[in-house]
């Protein structure tokens, strides 16, 4: 299962952060530093974080790092695909999503995430089904 999800930019500023366990989140700067070390195209995009003993899978999209902490024994490649799926979903909702979109609409990002992942398990991979409740919410109110 997914233990936590963190989206942060290269400077270490966290844009979206979500935890699915009661364990404390690792320091974003520390994780980011390890990710940056391995970010050349020749290196693996996943590793085990030493102190927290959690496996990190990350992917970089423009200036943002999507960092996922998963538990032992899970299929790393599947989570890779999941990150891409998540980004595509955000893209179709925000149309050409960029970091500013995530920053100004944190609540929406969380809601989309809630439709995709519940309690650390992937629930829905179909983009239109995920975005349907959000669309209804948007229609019924003006933004907060």
């Amino acid at each position: 299962m997914i233990e936590f999800l963190m989206v942060c930019n290269k400077a270490g500023a966290v844009r979206v952060s979500r935890s699915y366990t009661t364990k404390p989140l690792p320091e974003p700067r520390g994780v980011l530093h390890s990710c940056l070390k391995r970010n050349s195209p020749q290196q693996c995009c996943h590793f085990v974080l030493k102190d927290h003993k959690v496996r990190i899978v990350f992917r970089q999209y423009a200036s943002l790092f999507f960092i996922l902490g998963i538990s032992e024994g899970d299929n790393i490649m599947a989570y890779f695909a999941f990150i891409h799926n998540l980004v595509e979903t955000l893209n179709s909702y925000f149309s050409n999503v960029c970091e500013l979109d995530l920053m100004h609409n944190v609540d929406r990002a969380h809601m989309i995430l809630d439709e995709i992942v519940v309690n650390g398990y992937i629930t829905e991979s179909n983009r239109s089904r995920v975005l349907a409740p959000i669309a209804i919410l948007d229609k019924s109110i003006d933004k907060v």
């Binding site: 952060s17 979500r18 020749q42 490649m77 599947a78 695909a81 992937i122 179909n126 109110i141």
Partner: protein
């Protein structure tokens, strides 16, 4: 920038303000002001703006600032009838409330109401919240509602309810019985979201409660059918993710199958066909395809698959290794490491690909290829594999891996070596390229191996000498080389040997190199000890350089390094006083017993200590006269008046003595355990009778030493000494007197403790003056004690 201090600041504006802050202090001040405003508004029960304030609070919480005062407000929001309020309220609850907070339980009531709400989105919200944060008590309370929702006709709710059930089962395992009957219907789902979550639910049930596994085995057929449909279905826009038909569902199904098929041949047999189909039909060009294949491989490894399927799995992994994407290679290497212990033959086929991975840039891939190659070593491929590994070591191994690499290469080379010559070549190459990363025991094992192959002495020592002449930076190399030069120096200068290229080396050259090592500052102290010993040994082997060597050795009598100084003084004494014995002392070491292998055994420690501490004194203890000279040597040193550091000398002497005695390991003596311990006659020579009276005192053995003077003249300056093997401790109390009248006796008490239950042996020495004249010393060895101790 002016900050507007009303509580109706919109979230966007707050974000904009925070972003425009130029320093951290400015940001902090904005946030504290905003928090204060929010707190005020909460206190005033501002209902309209509450959700906006909580939204701002959540943003502030995400930035890392404390936000616990908003927890109750979240509860109030959840209780409000507006959807927007509930949305933000539940979001806040999921972010701020977890089981450790006290307010947590208060959510239960609202959750209960919302779960049975008519609007599906509200129930969906409640389900999501429940799934994320519910605790054991909440789970028990809400289980009936969840159960009802699992049976509802709305797919949107069913899929979330399933994941809720997962959490509840994790927290309260007893509630499995509530949910098991519902799973049957869930498996026949058409909606993929619900199917996905049900599969996860079933897997969770099986992990929590292994008894369920039997119950679910009946569904294997259905699961396989679903999987088959997924792969055969072709393109379906509803489920397509990057070219594959719902990969997440496929992955979860495969995982479930792995759990169900574990240790069950019958179930595994059912799965064989479908697994093979998945493996062959999945497209490998995309990441998702590889994810599915990887999961298939993992499943095949877990269940009792037939051998054809296993080979298929290993082949898939082999194909992964050829893929250019590093992640896939890493994943493949990791899995291969797990399977290589089960099925070596299949992995051997991919050996060449693994060797190619050694050349990768990423260190984690290199590490795993290295470990995999070590696991694949056998007598057939040892030459090529170790050749590649040595090339890897010399070219591009990263420093973190080098120490493990060098030690494992040497140990494996020793185990599988096809010929001695090859082994020596390999060892030499490893020392030259990876020298300073070798572990210490590696040096000992190498010297051990060298001493075991007499026909190679000349060849080896020449090669080592050439290597050392070029570069003295690598300590293990220099240590082995100096040891070899010391032992076999005569072969070095004897002229060309029959193997290898002929070269001429002169004695002066050799001594030059050794002198350079020992006087320079490039080498460590351990290396210098080795070199000093080597020089001493060469003093007998080389004809022309003895004086020069003596001079060099003499340099160190005033060195700051205590060990070096002590040895230098001892050697100088050998030159001065015991010159006649020098040749005998410096003879070649005999080959030590085969049992002392690199894995650190006690014997090996002894060998090692002996090499370092007493290499000057050879091992053969068979000849008594050598023993005498040894003890004389030590006796002489004990009474020596030269100013070496006295406190260091005395315990080191005992060490020397102990070491020697420790090596005198004859066949273990089984002493009979007599109820009454008869006295042992230790020494009966030259009119001195020494008897031991043994008794047990607690853990220790107490020996009362009775020395009787059977001669006609009085004895003065009587000194009794005893030494025991290394692992045994001995303490000798003062004698009752040092003078013995004719026919008189004196007593001395000795305590021996033997915690390791080693064989008890003792070496004794007695010295005295008789009638004013110093008498010859008496030495005796006691190898048998009438005490099983």
């Amino acid at each position: 920038m002016v900050v507007i201090l009303t509580s109706t600041v919109k979230l966007r504006d707050l974000i904009r303000q925070i972003r425009s802050a130029r320093t951290a202090a400015e940001e902090r001040s904005i946030i504290t002001k905003e928090c204060a405003a929010i707190r005020d508004s909460f206190r005033e029960e501002d209902n309209d703006n509450r959700c906006r304030n909580v939204a701002k609070l959540l943003y502030i919480h995400m930035l890392g600032y404390p936000a616990h005062f908003g927890q109750l407000e979240c509860l109030k929001l959840i209780a409000s009838p507006r959807f927007v309020d509930k949305r933000i309220g539940y979001l806040g609850a999921m972010l701020l409330l977890d089981e450790r907070q006290d307010v947590h339980l208060l959510v239960t009531n609202s959750l209960k109401n919302d779960l049975s709400h008519s609007t599906q989105f509200v129930s969906g919200l409640a389900l999501a919240a429940c799934g994320n944060i519910c605790s054991a008590e909440m789970g028990r309370d809400l289980a009936p509602e969840i159960e009802k929702l699992l049976k509802s006709s709305n797919a949107f709710l069913r899929k979330k309810a399933a994941l809720c059930a997962v959490r509840i089962i994790k927290k309260v395992p007893d509630l499995i019985e509530v949910f098991i009957p519902l799973t049957k219907a869930l498996i026949n789902e058409r909606n993929h979201g619900v199917l996905l979550t049900s599969v996860i639910l079933i897997r969770e049930m099986c992990t929590t409660n292994p008894d369920c596994i039997d119950h679910f085995k009946k569904c294997i057929f259905n699961l396989l059918r679903v999987l088959k449909n997924l792969i055969m279905a072709g393109y379906s826009p509803e489920h397509d993710v990057a070219g594959c038909s719902d990969p997440f569902l496929q992955v979860q199904l495969l995982r479930l199958l792995a759990v169900l098929g574990k240790c069950d041949a019958e179930a595994s047999e059912q799965m064989n066909d479908v697994l093979a189909q998945v493996a062959t039909n999945t497209e490998t060009s995309k990441n998702v395809g590889n994810a599915i294949l990887y999961q298939t491989v993992l499943t095949i490894m877990d269940i009792d698959a037939e051998s054809g399927l296993r080979v298929l799995a290993v082949n898939i992994l082999g194909r992964f290794l050829l893929n250019s994407d590093k992640n896939i290679r890493y994943v493949a290497l990791n899995t291969l490491l797990r399977t290589v212990h089960i099925d070596k033959a299949a992995v051997q086929r991919h050996r060449n690909t693994i060797i190619e991975c050694l050349g990768d840039v990423d260190i984690s891939i290199q590490k795993r290829s290295m470990e995999l190659l070590f696991a694949l070593l056998n007598t057939n491929n040892v030459r090529s594999v170790i050749g590649e590994l040595v090339k890897f070591l010399s070219v591009n191994a990263p420093p973190e891996l080098k120490s493990k690499l060098t030690s494992t290469i040497i140990i494996s080379a020793d185990k599988y070596a096809p010929s001695k010559r090859w082994y020596m070549d390999t060892v030499l190459k490893v020392l030259i390229h990876g020298g300073q990363y070798c572990r210490d025991d590696v040096v000992n094992s190498i010297t051990q191996s060298i001493s075991e192959s007499p026909e190679m002495y000349a060849f080896i020592v020449q090669k080592l000498f050439i290597a050392v002449k070029e570069d003295i930076g690598q300590q293990p190399l220099v240590q082995v080389a100096t040891w070899a030069i010391g032992e076999y120096g005569d072969l070095l200068v004897a002229g060309p040997c029959d193997i290898g290229e002929p070269i001429e080396i002169s004695e002066t050259e050799v001594v030059d190199v050794l002198e350079h090592i020992i006087t320079g500052s490039l080498c460590s102290s351990t290396t210098k000890y080795f070199t000093l010993n080597a020089l001493m040994k060469l003093s007998t082997r080389f004809k022309t350089e003895a004086d020069r060597i003596q001079k060099v050795v003499g340099y160190f009598t005033i060195n700051t390094n205590v060990e070096l100084q002590q040895r230098s003084v001892e050697y100088k004494t050998i030159f001065k006083r015991y010159d006649t014995m020098r040749t005998a002392l410096m003879e070649r070491m005999p080959v030590t017993a085969q049992s002392e292998k690199p894995a650190t055994t006690e014997a090996d420690n002894v060998v090692e200590k002996n090499e370092e501490a007493a290499a000057a004194v050879p091992l053969p203890v068979a000849q008594d006269n050598q023993q005498d000279s040894l003890l004389n040597l030590i006796g002489g040193l004990v009474g020596d008046q030269t100013p070496p550091p006295a406190p260091a000398a005395a315990p080191a002497n005992n060490d020397l003595l102990m070491d020697l005695l420790g090596l005198d390991s004859g066949p273990p003596v089984m002493a009979a355990a007599a109820p009454a311990i008869p006295p042992v006659t230790a020494i009966n020579k030259q009119g001195i009778l020494v008897t031991f009276n043994l008794s047990h005192e607690g853990e220790k053995l107490k020996i009362v030493v009775e020395s009787r003077n059977n001669t006609a003249s009085p004895i003065a300056d009587y000194l009794f000494q005893a030494a025991v093997p290394k692992t045994i401790q001995i303490s000798l109390n003062a004698a009752s007197s040092t003078t013995i009248a004719p026919n008189g006796t004196i007593h001395q008490e000795m305590f021996v403790s033997n915690p390791n239950k080693a064989t008890l042996k003792m070496r004794l020495k007695v010295s005295y003056t008789s009638g004013g004249v110093p008498a010859p010393e008496i030495q005796e060895t006691l190898a048998s004690f009438p005490v099983s101790y």
